[in-house]
Every structure is written in structure tokens, then in C-alpha cells.
Amino acid sequence: MELVKVQNIVKHFRKQKGMFGAFETVKAVDDVSFSINEGETLGLVGESGCGKSTLGRIIIRLLREDSGKIFLNGKELTALNFNELKPLRRDMQIIFQDPFASLNPRIRIGAAVAETLEILKDEDAVRKAAKMLEMVGLPSSAFSKYPHEFSGGQRQRICIARALVSRPKFILCDEPVSSLDVSVQAQIINLLKDLKDELGLTYLFISHDLRVVRNISDRVAVMKDGKVVEIADNETIYKYPVNAYTKELIGSVQETGKEL
């Protein structure tokens, strides 16, 4: 069943060339359509500036589109105003790239995770937050600590707990492992996979790392200059890429001997 549907989304930004130069239009997202099935992980790959993050943010309503429609569970999100969207926000959450920038240094971990539920007027917020922290593999002592007491990998676990505590259906993972060391990156990928199975989540996994996307996705979409140039099954796209750009991307990955 379709959980998320993206229909002809367009987003242009106006950019000025120099201080007095003429304005030019950057087509960040240029008529993109696809859908994500329930329980599926869709990998979205592309190089910096291709529009993948802009698209992600439009889907979870952190940015407004110029035109096009977004559906979540059959409901048209693009037709709703700010207040009408509020109750739906608990169903879609985001995990950001940099766990150092996305946690407030002055708020304790427990409070940061419980905050989402408090906004949603959940009376059981504290207990649920503690349980969620345990689920992502943090010790119970983490609850009353501050972000600086944790390493990068642990902080990303905190961000994951914060995203999942409202029990959303859809998670936008925007480069969640790009700033982590390889040995820790593998831990977080495993955690995301486990949580998906346990909680029945659906991911849109944005990354520039083709190895990571290969490992976590069911289907993969390749984006270039605001357009999705190819979308296919994980196995198919990596073994038999059709689009020239997809081929170039996959060909650029440096081998580590694991392929031999």
C-alpha cells in the first residue's frame, strides 16, 4: 500500500549573481513524482545540490512547494494549512545529518526526547521517552545527561529516539550516517534496520553514499539537477543501471577489495 505519494513537485529558488547581478532561477526540484510503499525504504541518491534535501523537506512539510501535491496515507498534505497539519506532524519525523548541530546543548536528553510528546499533550511522555532511549541502545543514565557528554554515534541514537518517540509512520533520514566514522556508521545502519522491522516504519533515506544506500534500501531513486533520472529496485539499479548518470555514479565508487 502507498504511504507517501509525491506528485509533480516543483520548487524553484531565485538566486542573485553577485551583489548587483541579475536574478536567475535555480530549479531545485523540477517536476518529481514517485511513491513510497508502507514498510519500504526508498533510497534517494545524488550529488550535492541536486535537490534531494529540498525534496525531502517539502515532503515532510518543512518547506512549501511551488506546485505539485504530497499525499500521506491518502490525505493531501499540500491542501492543508499550518493548523490542520499539526495533528499529522506526529506521523512524519526527520533525522538530520549532523547530530552535533541538531541537539540543543542546554536541554537534557530526556527532556529533548520527551518534548515531542509534551507538545502533543501526551501525559505519559517521560516514561515513553525513557523507553525509547532504551530501545535505541542508550543506558538509562542518559536521560538526565546533556548532549556534550555523548559521542557522535550516541548523539545520532538520541536523534533517532527523538524522531521515533511519537511513533511516526514515516521517517525522513537526511544523510543520517554521513558525519560518523565507518565503524560507528555500521552500528547506526543496523539500528535503523532493526527499528524499522520492530516498529513497522517507512523510510526515505537520503544519502550521497552509494554503499550505504545499497545496504539499506528496497528501492533507489537517483536525482540530478532537480529531476529523478532513474528509479528502480535496489538489485536492478546497481546491477543493471540504465541511465548514463546512474552508471557514472556507481562507477565512481572506489573499491575496497570487498567487491573482488
Binding site: D181, V182, Q187, K193, R214, Q254, K258
Partner: protein, 325 residues
């Protein structure tokens, strides 16, 4: 020490002293770089790979300090310890005999000078050429770094160039005075994969053409595989394994090397669970006792917790692990 080594580092210790704490960033690192050999320094963040690279050029700034060790470099037929050179002599070495490329090409270029001036500066200083001859050399070096319209790029400011072009400019800047050794610190980390592949091709090509020795610092084993002959794996301020490239990828000796290789997702098949290394990279201010890797090592024995292993040579490869004693 190998007789024909261009650079040999012996027992390098670089510590950081912020306030009362002591951060042992590099502790007893030794390795050689032969002429036209390419060495990889691999490790995760905080393992001391960049500090080792900076120590070679004595660029470690306060509160960091090179505490002890020798860095022997062959200059004009003589072997000299760079740690004993005067600051004036060091200026001749930096950019002249040993050059460095940094990770972020944007922050390493000066935004208020044109490319021509910045690339030519080193040649002016080290080779003493100027005017038309200098411009010609700049153009030649820029073209050599794979820049097609060298004229336009030379007249540009850094902000007018793309990331890939900027890194090519950085490479030209490093090469213009004809150094013998090039230190590249994560030269492609900030770039997109397709551009990264181009820059790696360029480096591989230049290395052969100029018979350059290269020290490549990276956390990415794919990049190391592309460029290097020999790989040094660093963990918590030490080299824990040093092997020729082929062998390190097919038969890693140290459990950390093996774990690192396994935790990289494969392109050819999907693994249900990635074999991750448990735990985190150790804090240089509070490293564990014994072998620095033992809290994360699945093969840890009692001795690993108490005593740090020394160097063992296995089939001509160096490893620091009790498994091979």
C-alpha cells in the same frame, strides 16, 4: 631504517596540552616513505592521522607540541632531522621540498587573491622566478593539474570556481615548486563521488609522471586502495598495522583492520546486518590501558587489558597485536 627512504619517521610523539589535561594524539609513530612510494595513513577521527601529517611539516600549532621523535628527510643528498632545522630552513622545506594538500579547498585558498597569484607565490619564493616566466609556469602547472581553460581559471577568484576546480588549483599550488613529497590530507572528502574519482585519477597520474612520493591521509579505504602502495592503519595515536596494499585488503592481520574492512557496506551484495565494531573511538585524553583497541576487540585476551603489544613482524608486515606474539 631503510637506506633509501626519502622520509623516515622514528618514535614521533605529538601531544596536546590544553590546560592541565594531556592529549596523546600521536604516540610513538614510526614509518618510512621510499622515493616515489605512496603510503596511506588510515584511521577514524581522533586517531592521530592528521596530526602525524602536520607534524612532518612542523605545522602543529599550540596547544599541540612535538614532544619527541625524529623526522629524517633527505635534502640535497644529505639526511637531516627536520625537528632540528631552524624555522628559516623549514620555510624552504614547506611548499618547496614537501607540499601539502588539505581537505577543504575553499578554506585553504585566500578569497581576496586571484588564482594566478596564489599558485605562483610558492614558485616565486622557492624558485625565484617572476614576470612572464612565472605566468608561463603557472599556466603549465594548472594545465598539468587537468584544468582545461587555465587562462580563465588563473584570472579567477576562488569563489568563482567549483569544488573540483578549487581542489585542482590546490594541487597545482602544491606541485609548482617541484616537491619530492606530497602530503594529501583527505583531499577528496569534501567532494562529490564523480568529482572525487576525477581527482583521484589526476593524483595517480601525477604521482607516476613526477615520480612523487605521497602520504595520503584518509578515513576512506576505497581512496587508499586507489592510490597507495603501502597502508598504515592508525588507532588511538599508534600505527597498529603496516602492510602492502594487496595484503591488507585480502588478509588483514590486526582485528581493528579486519573490523574496519568488514564494516564498510558492500556494493555487490546486501548484508542483513553490517558487521559493526562495537563501542566508540577512544578519547585521546582518556585512552584505555593495555592495547588501545581491547575494549572493542572480540579477540581480546587477559594480556591485552594490561600490557600494550609491541611490534611483531609477520611475513614482512608489521602488526601490534598479542595474537601474533
Amino acid at each position: 631504517m631503510t637506506e633509501n627512504a626519502l622520509l623516515s619517521i622514528r618514535g614521533l610523539h605529538t601531544y596536546f596540552f590544553p590546560g592541565k589535561a594531556v592529549g596523546r594524539a600521536v604516540e610513538g609513530v614510526s614509518f618510512d616513505v621510499g622515493s616515489s612510494e605512496s603510503i596511506g595513513l588510515v584511521g577514524e577521527s581522533g586517531c592521530g592521522k592528521s596530526v602525524t601529517a602536520l607534524s612532518i611539516l612542523r605545522l602543529v600549532s599550540r596547544p599541540g607540541k612535538i614532544v619527541s621523535g625524529e623526522i629524517i628527510f633527505e635534502r640535497g643528498g644529505k639526511k637531516e632531522d627536520m625537528l632540528l632545522l631552524s624555522e628559516q630552513e623549514m620555510t624552504k622545506v614547506r611548499g618547496g621540498e614537501i607540499s601539502m594538500i588539505f581537505q577543504e579547498p575553499f578554506t585553504s585558498l585566500n578569497p581576496v587573491f586571484r588564482v594566478e597569484y596564489q599558485v605562483g607565490e610558492s614558485a616565486k619564493l622557492h624558485l625565484g622566478i617572476k614576470g612572464e616566466a612565472l605566468r608561463a609556469l603557472v599556466m603549465e602547472t594548472l594545465s598539468g593539474a587537468g584544468i582545461k581553460d587555465a587562462e580563465r581559471v588563473a584570472d579567477s577568484y576562488p569563489h568563482e570556481l567549483s569544488g573540483g576546480l578549487r581542489q585542482r588549483v590546490m594541487i597545482a599550488m602544491a606541485l609548482i615548486s617541484g616537491p619530492k613529497l606530497l602530503i594529501a590530507d583527505e583531499p577528496t572528502t569534501a567532494l562529490d563521488v564523480t568529482v572525487q574519482a576525477q581527482i583521484l585519477d589526476l593524483l595517480a597520474d601525477i604521482r607516476l609522471k613526477r615520480k612523487l612520493s605521497v602520504i595520503m591521509v584518509s578515513h576512506d579505504l576505497g581512496i587508499i586502495n586507489r592510490i597507495c602502495d603501502r597502508v598504515n592503519i592508525m588507532y588511538s595515536g599508534r600505527i597498529v598495522e603496516s602492510s602492502p596494499k594487496k595484503e591488507i585488503f585480502s588478509n588483514p592481520l590486526h582485528p581493528y583492520t579486519a573490523g574496519l574492512l568488514k564494516s564498510i557496506p558492500s556494493l555487490s551484495k546486501i548484508e542483513k546486518r553490517l558487521p559493526a565494531i562495537p563501542g566508540n573511538v577512544p578519547d585521546p585524553f582518556d585512552p584505555p590501558a593495555g592495547c588501545r583497541f581491547h575494549p572493542r576487540c572480540q579477540k581480546a585476551m587477559d594480556i591485552c587489558k594490561k600490557t600494550e603489544p609491541g611490534e611483531t613482524v609477520v611475513d614482512g608486515r608489521m602488526v601490534k597485536c598479542w595474537l601474533y606474539k
